[in-house]
Each structure stands twice: as structure tokens, then as C-alpha cells.
């Protein structure tokens, strides 16, 4: 067992474990932390695959920013796992959903195996060595600023829109707006009554 | 410039819509004035078309034929003959009057209202000028949307029900029509090797009898709903009662004519065998519509629904005239389309005026109006007389010719249709009596003001038209006649009929077995011009 294989299996086990725990624990804080674990393991895999830059980005952006944001929200809303989440699903429905997931997994494996059906060595075969700079900041940067310049710029716009959107959505409405909305609702209700009569 | 006049005419209202979009929505006066100017200029353009129209030439005039979507043979093909010419002029006139009539009665959503009306105008003119089935279908559907909003937004209490009913009825028919159109186009492709949506090209295509029958049925259903032919008429009273005045005027004045226009432009020329075969059924339905509409109109409590049912009756006359398949019947039918547009439009305008004052249309609420509003009563009387077809008003000319034609076709159609003349007098005069005559019993009616200058301006052109067409309809006949003769010639391609070249009368040829065999006309798309002559 080479080091490579060991790193893969350890990371894979950690990633799957984190993901599984994330969806099973009741406390949201714990969920976030398990996801963090899973992401960290995945970042290791990224780097193992030569995506040094992306692995780092994953850690910084996902773990450092997004998951922290999740944590913020969970704490802001003061969620502790004791919230009313309604009736738990019936066992049958729960089971059927696991079954669906399993089916999906089996199919995905078959897809991978199918495409690996024999001929495509790039998938089934061992990965060969790559150039030193593969996946480096420079390498990815060159690509993003040349071939994918427009999509890249568009992501900027997307982020801007997301920022504005998030602010607008999360903003507390002023009293005036609330009053207006109330009035509007009343009018609607009134006119719909008329329609009925 | 002149060659493209139909394009200008059709799309000028759209230009108006664009301009209207630029006006802030609070500026009601600017919006109203602007849309009035646009409608007025459109009317002037249509007058110009009328003036430039050559009454002696047969065939289409002002034709424009530009390939549009070549791969499927869609072209931008416009052109008019005498029938569409008159209907266009009617449309533009009624649009101006409709805009004037809503001057003070539409207070909410003013901008949207006038945009709808102008879009509607484009749709209506578009239907009348299209010579391409695709274009025809597009304009046909374009009309639907503004009308839906006119009824559904600015209508009465049950406006949503009425609007949806209107749209669903019409949609149902037009989808069948679309299927039929596509069938025609593919059929043409299989015969000529190219696609074409061109009406004139499709007309010359030979179709077997069963094909004709199905296609005729599909088109006829779409058109019959629009007319509306009994028993597909029930959307009409609801739509009329709920629609705002301008909507009713355009609906009754022009939209109903779309159905009959479709018959005369598409059904009759394209499916002559089927036309002859279906003739008895449609005639019977028309006669039922005439009598039924009149009888039901008699017992209505709401003035607008009375007028709506009278429309059913009058449009029954138009349908009967179309399917008499003789010159008098067809000419009378086209005249009746115009006349019905004028007199029913005028009736709705008048009802709108009284509605603006009293906010009710129930006959029982009125009485003695002639005393407080003498001018109104006079105009109402003139329009009433025109509606019941008194000689020397426009209504008579069309009705007389239709009855004459129907009588020649089949005595019994004539006899039963004539009773419509009697009943029309009954319901109109009874309504007039209950609204106008007697003493003022309702205190709310005591202080009604007589017609304003604006309202008089609306009515005067209509009254003028009523008498002009009633006394001197010759200019109209001159323009209708070549077009009608063309239609008859095309119908005469049916093997079961024979056209008298002098009187233009179609007579049924009785073959031994009484069955109509499939058409075996040789088909030569290149020589379609030749087959027209």
C-alpha cells in the first residue's frame, strides 16, 4: 500500500464519515462542523489530484467563509437542535428515500463502470504523472483570464447580484413598507371577495 | 410609399403604442389625446386607402409580398379587396369612436387601456389585410390578448368570468384552425414540393372531398365561434355585458366580423365542395340563430345583453347570406357586416352614455328618458331604426338582399328568416318604450343631463353613415361586387354546382347518385394566376 493509496482511503473515509454524520445529527452546529470535516478531507483529495490552488481555495472559501457563514446563521437564529421540526417521517417513507439514494449510487457506479467498460484507459487506468505546474495558481489563472475570461467576469457580476440580493432579502422591512404591504393585502382580499359575490 | 400603404396602416397603431409607452402613466390627458390622434391618423390612412382603391379592378390591390420565413414558406403577404377594404374603414372609424367614448369613463389604468385598444386595432386590421395564413393566424391571436384585458381589467363585476370564457371559446376554435392550417401547408408541400402559407396558393390546391370536409369543419368551428353562430354564442352576452363600452363597440363592431370574414376569405374559396355540402346545416343554424337570438333578446332585462342577443340574430343574417351562395345574398351579407358594425356599435355607444350617467343598464331602472334627454332619445331612435332595418337606413339594404338571396336558395330559409324582421321590431321597440317612454318614475332619472358635445361628435358620424349607406349604398356595392364575384367563381370550382356567368348564381348540379366525387382538378402551382381568372 503506497502512501498515495493510504492518503486516498483515509481522506475518503473521513469525507464519507463527515457527510454521513452531517445528515444524521440533530444539532445544526454539529452538522456544520461535520461538513467542515468532510470538506477538509475533500480538500486533501483535491491536492492529491494536483489541484493545489483549488484545494486551498476550498479550504479558504468553503471552510473559512461559507461554513462560517452557516455557523453564523445557526447561531444567529439560536438553533440548538431542539427546534420543532414537526412529525418525523414515517419509517417507510424514510426507508424509501434511502433506497432512492442507494439506487442513485448504484447507477452512478454503473455509469462510471460502464464508461470504463474496458476501453477508456484514462478512467480506469492508473493516473500518470503530470507536469510540475499542473493545477498551479499560474496555470489556472492563465486559463481563467484568457479562455474563460467572459465567464469569469460574469461570476463577478453574479457575486455582485448575490450580495445585493442577500442584503435586500435579509433586510428588515421598515414600518412604512409593512403598512403598505398590509394595505395591499387588504385590497386584494376585498377585491377577491367582490369577485366571489 | 403608396405600395406599402397597407403596412403603414396596419402598424401605425403599434407606433402609437411605442409612443404611449414613453408617456408617464399619470398624464391621463396626454395619453388620451395621443391615442386619439394615433387612431385618427390611422383612420385617415384608411380613408386614403379607400380613395386610392380601384373599384373596377377585380382581385387584390395594394399587394405586398415579401418572403419572411423562407424555409417554411411564410411570407409577409398583404393585400385587400373590396370586402376587406370596407371592413378596415369600419374598424378604424369605430376605433376612433371607441376611444372618444371612453374619454371620461375609464379612470384607472388609463395607459394600459389605450395601449390595448391600439394593439387591438393593429390585430384587427392585420387580419383583414393578411393574405398569408400564418400572418392571418398571428393577427387573429393578437386580437385576443388586448380584448382579454379590456374585458378582464376594465369590465363589470363578472369581468373575469366573461374574459376567460371569451378567451377559452376563441382559443378552442383557433387551435383547431391552426391544425387545419398546418395540414394545408404540409399537403401543399407534398404536392408542390415547397411549403407555402399563401392563401391564394392554397386556394388553388385540389383537395379530396373528405379532406375538404374535415378542414372546413375545423376552420368553420373557429369562425363560427367568433361569429357567433348558434349554439356557440353563449360567450357573447357575457362578454358584452361585462366589457367596457369601448370593448363592446369593438367586439360587436369588428371582432364578430372576423368570423364571417374568415368564412368568405378562407372557407368558401378553399373548400367549395365542403361548402356546398355543409350549406344546409349552416343555413339551418343561421336561421335558428336569427329567430332564437331575437326571441331571447326580447326578454332580456339588461340593455347590453339585449343588444348582444340582437347581435346573434343579426350575425345569423350575415351567415345565412354567406351561404346562400348567390350574388345578392353574399353582397347583402357583406353589407350587413358593415351595417351591423355601425348600428350595433352605435347602440353600445349609446348604452355606454346612459351607463356613464346612471351606472346601471337594467331596463327596469329607466323610463321616461325621452323627456329628460330628448337628443339622446332621438339618436337612440335613429339607431334603433337602423338596427331593425328600416328602409333608407343602412340596416335595410343588407337584410333585404340577404332575405332575397336566402329565399332564392330555399323558400323556407327565407320564410323563417323573415320572422326575424318582425321580432327585431318587437324587442327593439319594446326596449325603447320601456327605456324612453312613459313618465319618469325613478327619481334618479330626473336630473340626467342630455348629450354632451363629445357624445354628439361620437354619434354624428354614425348617423351620417346610417343614412348614407341607407340611401346611397352604390359606392359600397361597386367595391364589393368584384370581390364577391371572385368568391363565387372560386366556390364554383365545386363539381356539384354550376355558376351562371351572367347572374352569378350558383345552381346545384344533381348527379345521378347524389354524391359528390373527389375533386380531380389538375394542379399547377406555377400557373395559379391563370386559374384565378
Amino acid at each position: 500500500m503506497t502512501l498515495d493509496v493510504a492518503i486516498f482511503f483515509i481522506s475518503a473515509i473521513v469525507a464519507v464519515f463527515g457527510a454521513t454524520m452531517m445528515i444524521t445529527v440533530r444539532n445544526p452546529v454539529a452538522s456544520v462542523l461535520y461538513l467542515l470535516v468532510s470538506f477538509a478531507a475533500q480538500a486533501v483529495l483535491f491536492i492529491q489530484l494536483g489541484a493545489l490552488f483549488l484545494g486551498v481555495v476550498l479550504i479558504i472559501v468553503y471552510v473559512g467563509a461559507i461554513l462560517v457563514l452557516f455557523l453564523f446563521v445557526v447561531m444567529l437564529l439560536n438553533l440548538r437542535g431542539g427546534e420543532d421540526l414537526g412529525q418525523p417521517s414515517r419509517p417507510m417513507s424514510r426507508f424509501s428515500k434511502y433506497l432512492i439514494g442507494a439506487l442513485l449510487l448504484v447507477e452512478l457506479v454503473f455509469v462510471i463502470r460502464g464508461s470504463a467498460g474496458g476501453t477508456d484507459q484514462t478512467v480506469t487506468g492508473m493516473m500518470g504523472p503530470v507536469v510540475e505546474t499542473f493545477g498551479s495558481v499560474q496555470d489556472v489563472g492563465m486559463l481563467l483570464f484568457t479562455t474563460y475570461l467572459y465567464p469569469f467576469e460574469l461570476t463577478g457580476v453574479l457575486l455582485l447580484v448575490a450580495i445585493v440580493g442577500a442584503v435586500v432579502i435579509a433586510k428588515r422591512e421598515t414600518e412604512r413598507e409593512a403598512a403598505q404591504k398590509k394595505q395591499l393585502v387588504e385590497e386584494r382580499g376585498h377585491s377577491s371577495e367582490e369577485k366571489v359575490s | 410609399m403608396i405600395g406599402d400603404i397597407l403596412t403603414y396602416l396596419t402598424f401605425f397603431p403599434v407606433l402609437g403604442v411605442v409612443l404611449l409607452l414613453l408617456v408617464p402613466k399619470e398624464r391621463h390627458d396626454s395619453i388620451k389625446s395621443l391615442s386619439l390622434i394615433i387612431a385618427f391618423v390611422t383612420m385617415l390612412i384608411s380613408f386614403l386607402v379607400y380613395a386610392l382603391f380601384d373599384p373596377l379592378a377585380s382581385g387584390m390591390q395594394f399587394e405586398v409580398n415579401v418572403p419572411w420565413v423562407n424555409s417554411v414558406g411564410i411570407s409577409y403577404h398583404l393585400g385587400i379587396d373590396g370586402i376587406s377594404l370596407l371592413l378596415i374603414v369600419l374598424t378604424t372609424i369605430l376605433t376612433v369612436l371607441a376611444i372618444l367614448s371612453s374619454w371620461n369613463s375609464i379612470k384607472t389604468g388609463v395607459k394600459g387601456f389605450y395601449i390595448s385598444i391600439l394593439l387591438l386595432t393593429t390585430g384587427m386590421i392585420g387580419v383583414f389585410v393578411s393574405l398569408d395564413l400564418f400572418l392571418f393566424y398571428v393577427f387573429w391571436e393578437v386580437m385576443l390578448i388586448p380584448m382579454y384585458f379590456l374585458i378582464g381589467v376594465w369590465g363589470g363585476p363578472r369581468r373575469v368570468y366573461a374574459a376567460i370564457k371569451f378567451v377559452l371559446f376563441t382559443m378552442f376554435g383557433s387551435l383547431l384552425m391552426l391544425v387545419a392550417v398546418l395540414y394545408l401547408v404540409f399537403k401543399y408541400h407534398s404536392m408542390a414540393g415547397v411549403y407555402s402559407f399563401d392563401i391564394q396558393a392554397l386556394v388553388s390546391m385540389p383537395l379530396s372531398f373528405s379532406e375538404q370536409a374535415y378542414l372546413f369543419a375545423a376552420f368553420a368551428l373557429a369562425f363560427a365561434i367568433k361569429v357567433p353562430l348558434w349554439p356557440l354564442h353563449t360567450w357573447l352576452p357575457d362578454a358584452h355585458v361585462e366589457a367596457p363600452t369601448a370593448g363592446s363597440v369593438i367586439l360587436a363592431g369588428v371582432l364578430l366580423k372576423m368570423g364571417t370574414y374568415g368564412f368568405i376569405r378562407i372557407c368558401l374559396p378553399m373548400f367549395p365542395e365542403a361548402t356546398v355540402a355543409f350549406l344546409p346545416y349552416i343555413c339551418v343554424l343561421s336561421v335558428i340563430a336569427i329567430v332564437y337570438g331575437a326571441l331571447v333578446a326580447m326578454v332580456q332585462k339588461d340593455v347590453k345583453s339585449l343588444v348582444a342577443f340582437s347581435s346573434v340574430s343579426h350575425m345569423g343574417f350575415v351567415m345565412l347570406g354567406l351561404f346562400t351562395l348567390n350574388l345578392q345574398g353574399l353582397e347583402g351579407s357583406v353589407m350587413q357586416m358593415i351595417n351591423h358594425g355601425i348600428s350595433t356599435g352605435a347602440l353600445f355607444l349609446l348604452v355606454g352614455m346612459i351607463y356613464d350617467r346612471r351606472h346601471t343598464r337594467l331596463i327596469s331602472e329607466f323610463g321616461g328618458i325621452a323627456k329628460v334627454m330628448p337628443a339622446f332619445a332621438t339618436y337612440f331612435m335613429i339607431v334603433t331604426l337602423s338596427s331593425i332595418g328600416l328602409p333608407f337606413t343602412n340596416g335595410f339594404v343588407g337584410e333585404f338582399l340577404i332575405l332575397l338571396g336566402a329565399f332564392q336558395l330555399n323558400t323556407w330559409y327565407g320564410v323563417f328568416a323573415v320572422t326575424g324582421v318582425i321580432f327585431s321590431a318587437c324587442y327593439m321597440l319594446w326596449m325603447y318604450q320601456r327605456v324612453m317612454y312613459g313618465k319618469v318614475t325613478n327619481p334618479e332619472n330626473e336630473k340626467l343631463t342630455d348629450m354632451s358635445a363629445r357624445e354628439r361628435i361620437i354619434m354624428i358620424p354614425l348617423v351620417f353613415l346610417i343614412f348614407w349607406i341607407g340611401v346611397y349604398p352604390k359606392p359600397l356595392f361597386d367595391r364589393i361586387e368584384p370581390a364577391v364575384k371572385n368568391v363565387l367563381e372560386q366556390v364554383s370550382r365545386a363539381k356539384s354546382v354550376q355558376l351562371d356567368p351572367v347572374t352569378y348564381e350558383l345552381t346545384r348540379v344533381k348527379d345521378e347518385k347524389g354524391t359528390v366525387t373527389d375533386a380531380t382538378v389538375t394542379f399547377a402551382p406555377e400557373q395559379e394566376e391563370a386559374t384565378h381568372e
Binding site: 447507477e107 455509469v111 | 326580447m298 326578454v299 328600416l390 328602409p391 332575397l404 318604450q433 317612454y437 349604398p473
Partner: protein, 645 residues
């Protein structure tokens, strides 16, 4: 000459336009002047045209003028064109002449009514329409006038529209007329269908070639045209509107419902005489209906108490006479009676109007009496008219009525029964007319003091037309003194070129049998005169000498009395048999067929869709997880599909 014909209807049209467009803006005097002058001018033109026509040689007395094409549609070419021949010449003289007098009379009669402008507008429009009717050169153009007079009749009957009875009566008149018009239209259609033209000259010329004499087609045409005539001229079964029409102002009753419009049917029959002589069956129908109407209306007339209603039923009855004449192919006699009737009946109505005017709008004869000394001119003129209508020898009515009776007996289409009915009717006519005279002008003054106080003779503008008409009523018949008196019948001679019929053969026939028939004619004439005198005496006994006798008689025959007073309950029967079922049926069509059935069917379909959607929409739970489940299932299915198929 011919190019002036259009002036005759044009003047009233101009009057109508001026008065109508400037309604409410002209002073009373101007309105009166314009209205009268326009009719007066057309009377002058009519007289000139009459003399022009007379100056022409006998065979060529036809003037035609075409203004422009009205309805050009293939083979159907209808012109706005006029046809002046001896028949229409007589008619325009009557219409403009009597019309002019009535216009003048109206200026006095309507002098206190605020609606005078509207009144004269309608009246001028009526005159125009009537002139179009009689001058038209084709059936459709005649129909213009035909419906036009119907419209004016509607407007004028309902002139005081605030009264429900008035507007009801107007509506009834129009609708009943429309029923007749429908028949007229159908008749026209058959003619066009067969002949291919609707011009009078062409139709009449082509008819003998196109129609088989006595055939079903021509009979149908004639009967349909006659249906039109029954509507306009108030014959059984469509007479019901005329008595109600008395709701209108009295001059209107005189002009429209006595002198001119109601006689349009007779004119139309005379105009189509070529067709009618070809259809003996149709003639028989006309004669029977005419005779029946004459008798029927006369009996009702004997029991009415409203002065105008008596005259109305009298009009119906006299119109029956005219149709009786037409029905025995004696169109000339019909037109002759039409003319004399126009004089004396217009006079009767105008005089009655004068009475009503003086009586402060009371029309019930039971509240009158003894008016002779208050209204001498009215009395004398009305008496002259009554003598005329009763058929006292020498007066105009005598000649015309006698000719009808004689023709109904002697004509090849006549029958002894028709004569008997006419004979009885003559007696009844004399009876109810003198009943009217005695109840109104003689006996006790039964009016209230208030009314009596205002009682006065009418102004000059009203009495002058009375006098002129009285003169005409007396001498008007002298133009048509029958052959039997040894003079030429100018009137018959004048009309001969236009009127088809057996007159040529009848003339020779009559000459052949001159010896015996002259004696018969005198015998019948004498019988009639005796009956008339006897009836007058009866009326004198019952209503002048011993009024209590009439009341006791009425009590004795109370059933009959009630039947007559209620006009045989015809209105009620029509209401129950025609009007009610139509209205109920219409409500049924609306509520049941339209709303319940058709709309129910369509809304039912919509409801079915709605119900299906009610079930289907449950799929749309709003729960993201269920959507996601379905979504993932879909993905699984799709991937599975691509993997294994």
C-alpha cells in the same frame, strides 16, 4: 313634366329636414309656415303634374323619372325612381291635398302643445313617405315609403309618449304592420325570383308570360302581398292596431289612419292589379276578408262610446269595402272609394277633433250632447260627412259605395253573398254614424259645468279645412257617377290604362246585358237607400227620440252588448294565443336552453376540468422535499433508461 316629379316628395322632405334639424330653435309661426308651405308646394306641383298628365294622349300617360341607383346587386337593380301614371296622380292629389288641409288644421289643433316642432317634423316626414309610397316605380322603393309611413304612424301615435297607452299603441301599430310587411317582403321575393326584376312596369309587363294564370305561384304572391295590405290597411286579422292608434293626436288620425296611410294597401293592390286578375283564388280571399272586415268592424262600431273609436272602426269597415271592391276585381271602384273616403273620413276625424278640442279633450260621447248650438260649423260639416259616408244619394259616398256594391254583385268575381254583407254593412254604417251625430250634437248636455264653460267653436285655422273638406265630401263623388245614370264614368276612364282587370270585357259584357242589368242596378241601389234611411230612423229613435230605449235594449242583450263593447275580445285572444306564448317561450329559450342547457353544458365541461385539476393539484404539495424526491426519482429513472435501454 317628368323631371319635376321628384319635387313632390322633395318639398315635405325639406320641410322635415328644416324642422327636424332646427328642432326647438324655431318659433312656432316659422314651424307652422314651413310645414304647411312644404306640403302646399307639393300640392301645387301635384296639380301641375296632373294637368301635364291629362294633356298627354290617353295611351301614353306614364311619366317616369329615375334619380339614381339605390341597390345595385347583380340582376337586382333598384332605382330611386318615380312613376307617375293616372293612379299615382290620383293618390298624390289626395295625399298632398288632404294632407295640406290637415297641416293647416293642425296649426290650430296643436297650438297649445309644447311638442309642436316634433309634431310637424313627423307630419312632414309622413307626407314624404306617403308620397314615396305612391310615386315609387318599384316594389322595394315602394317598401321604403311603406315602412316610412309605418314609422311615422308609430311616432305620431306615441306622440304623447308619457302616456303608457299611447306608446303601447304606437308599438302595437308598428309591430302589427311589420307582420304584414314580412308578407309583403316574401311576395316581393317570389316576384323577383320569377320575374328577375322588381320594377312595376317590368313586372306587370312580364307577369302574364312568367306566371301561369290562376297558378299556385301567382296566387301565393298575391296572398302574400295582401298580407302586407292587411297589416297596413287594418284588415282581419291584423286590424287590431288601428282602434288603438286613436291615442295619437286627432289630425294624425285623420291624415294617417283615415285618409292616406291605411289606404296604402288598397293602392298596392290596385298597383298590382295585373297580378291579382291572374289569381282568382287570391281575389276571392281578398273579397272575403274585405267583406268580413267591413261587417265585423261595423258591428263593433255600433257599441263604442269613444267618438274616435267609432270613427276608427268605421275606417276599418270602410277599408273592408275597398278590399271588397278589389276582391271582385273592381280596383277602380276601390280607388274611387279610397278617394271619397279620404274626403269624408278626414272630415269626420277633423270634426271629431274639433269637438274634442272644444270639449277640453273629452272623447266619451256619453259626456257630450247638444253641441249643435255651441259648434255650428263643426256640426254642419260633420253632418255633411255623415250623410256622405251613410250613402245618401248625391253625396260622394253614395256613388263610390254603390259602385262597390254593384260590382260585388255583378262582377265576374262577385257573389250575391258579398253583396248581402256589403248591404248589411251599409245599413250598420248609417246607424252608427247617426248614433254618433245624435249622441254628440243633440239631446241633453251631459258634460260637466267646467267643460261647458270652456266650450267654444274652434278657431278659423281648424274650421276652414272642415269647410273645404265638406265641399269635397259632397261633390267629390261626382267625378265617378256610374254609367247607369247615362254619363261617362270619368274616374274609371281616367284609371283604365293602369288598372288591369276585366273592365274592358266587363264593359262589353255590361253593354251586352245593358237592358236587364241597368234595371237590376237601380233596384239594388234603391234597396240600399231604403235600408240606409231605415237605419237612420232607427238611430234617431234610439238615441234622439227615446234614449231610454237604447239602454233597455242594451240591458236586454247584455251579452251581445258586452261582446261588442269588448270588441269580440280579439285583443285578449291575440294576447293569450300569440303574445303570451311567444314571451313565455322566449323566457324558456333564455333561461332553460341558453343559460341552463348550452351554458350549463359548456360550464359543465369547465367544471369537469376543474374537478380533475382539483385532484391533480394535490401533487403540488408545496413541500420541497417531496418535489426533490420526485426529482431524484426522475433522475434515477432517466439514468437507468440510458444505462439499460
Amino acid at each position: 313634366m317628368a323631371e319635376y316629379i321628384y319635387l313632390v316628395p322633395l318639398f315635405p322632405l325639406i320641410g322635415f329636414l328644416i324642422n327636424g334639424l332646427l328642432l326647438g330653435r324655431l318659433p312656432r309661426a316659422a314651424v307652422n309656415f314651413i310645414a304647411c308651405a312644404s306640403v302646399g308646394l307639393s300640392f301645387i306641383v301635384a296639380v301641375m303634374l296632373f294637368f301635364d298628365l291629362r294633356a298627354l294622349p290617353e295611351g301614353q300617360r306614364v311619366l317616369e323619372q329615375v334619380l339614381f341607383t339605390w341597390i345595385p346587386s347583380g340582376a337586382l337593380q333598384v332605382n330611386i325612381g318615380f312613376l307617375l301614371d293616372p293612379l299615382s296622380a290620383v293618390m298624390i292629389l289626395v295625399v298632398t291635398g288632404v294632407g295640406f288641409l290637415i297641416h293647416i288644421y293642425s296649426t290650430g289643433y296643436m297650438s297649445h302643445d309644447p311638442g309642436f316642432g316634433r309634431y310637424f317634423t313627423y307630419l312632414n316626414l309622413f307626407t314624404f313617405s306617403m308620397l314615396v309610397l305612391v310615386l315609387a316605380d318599384s316594389f322595394p322603393f315602394m317598401f321604403v315609403g311603406w315602412e316610412g309611413v309605418g314609422l311615422c304612424s308609430y311616432l305620431l301615435i306615441g306622440f304623447w309618449f308619457e302616456k303608457k297607452s299611447a306608446s303601447d299603441a304606437g308599438k302595437k301599430a308598428f309591430i302589427v304592420n311589420r307582420i304584414g310587411d314580412a308578407g309583403f317582403l316574401l311576395g316581393m321575393f317570389i316576384i323577383f325570383w320569377q320575374v328577375g326584376s322588381l320594377q312595376f312596369t317590368e313586372v306587370m309587363a312580364a307577369a302574364p308570360a312568367v306566371f301561369a294564370a290562376g297558378g299556385a305561384l301567382v296566387t301565393t304572391v298575391c296572398i302574400l302581398l295582401f298580407v302586407g295590405a292587411t297589416g297596413k290597411s287594418a284588415q282581419i286579422p291584423l286590424y287590431v292596431w288601428l282602434p288603438d292608434a286613436m291615442e295619437g293626436p286627432t289630425p294624425v288620425s285623420a291624415l294617417i289612419h283615415a285618409a292616406t296611410m291605411v289606404t296604402a294597401g288598397v293602392y298596392m293592390l290596385a298597383r298590382s292589379s295585373v297580378l291579382y286578375t291572374m289569381a282568382p283564388d287570391a281575389l276571392a280571399v281578398v273579397a272575403i276578408i274585405g267583406a268580413a272586415t267591413a261587417l265585423f268592424a261595423a258591428t263593433i262600431g255600433t257599441a263604442q262610446n269613444d267618438i274616435k273609436r267609432v270613427l276608427a272602426y268605421s275606417t276599418v269597415s270602410q277599408l273592408g269595402y275597398m278590399f271588397l271592391a278589389c276582391g271582385v276585381a273592381a280596383f277602380t271602384a276601390g280607388i274611387f272609394h279610397l278617394m271619397t273616403h279620404a274626403f269624408f273620413k278626414a272630415l269626420l276625424f277633423l270634426a271629431a277633433g274639433s269637438v274634442i278640442h272644444g270639449m277640453s279633450d273629452i272623447q266619451d260621447m256619453r259626456q257630450m250632447g247638444g253641441l249643435k248650438k255651441y259648434m255650428p260649423i263643426t256640426f254642419i260639416t260633420m253632418l255633411l260627412a255623415t250623410l256622405a259616408i251613410a250613402g245618401i244619394p248625391g253625396f260622394s259616398g253614395f256613388f263610390s259605395k254603390d259602385e262597390i256594391l254593384w260590382k260585388s254583385f255583378s262582377s265576374s268575381h262577385g257573389h250575391i253573398l258579398l253583396w248581402i254583407i256589403g248591404f248589411i254593412t251599409a245599413g250598420l254604417t248609417a246607424f252608427y254614424m247617426f248614433r254618433l251625430i245624435y249622441m254628440t250634437f243633440y239631446g241633453k248636455e251631459r258634460m260637466s259645468d267646467e267643460v261647458k264653460h270652456h266650450l267654444h267653436e274652434s278657431p278659423r285655422s281648424m274650421t276652414l279645412p272642415l269647410v273645404v273638406l265638406a265641399v269635397l265630401s259632397v261633390i267629390g263623388g261626382w267625378v265617378g257617377i256610374p254609367h247607369v245614370f247615362g254619363v261617362t264614368n270619368h274616374f274609371e276612364h281616367w284609371l283604365a290604362p293602369v288598372i288591369a282587370g276585366p273592365h274592358q270585357e266587363a264593359a262589353s259584357h255590361a253593354l251586352a246585358a245593358a237592358g236587364s242589368s241597368a234595371a237590376t242596378e237601380f233596384l239594388l241601389m234603391g234597396l240600399t237607400v231604403v235600408l240606409v234611411l231605415f237605419s237612420i230612423f232607427g238611430a234617431y229613435m234610439l238615441y234622439k227620440k227615446r234614449p231610454e230605449l237604447s239602454t233597455s235594449l242594451a240591458q236586454k242583450f247584455s251579452g251581445l252588448q258586452a261582446l261588442l263593447v269588448n270588441k269580440y275580445y280579439v285583443d285578449e285572444i291575440y294576447g293569450a294565443l300569440v303574445v303570451r306564448p311567444i314571451v313565455t317561450g322566449s323566457v324558456f329559450l333564455w333561461k332553460i336552453v341558453d343559460v341552463l342547457f348550452i351554458d350549463g353544458l359548456i360550464n359543465g365541461f369547465a367544471a369537469i376540468y376543474a374537478d380533475i385539476s382539483q385532484v391533480a393539484r394535490r401533487v403540488q404539495t408545496g413541500r420541497i422535499r417531496s418535489y426533490a424526491t420526485v426529482f431524484v426519482l426522475g433522475v434515477v429513472a432517466m439514468v437507468g433508461y440510458f444505462l439499460y435501454w
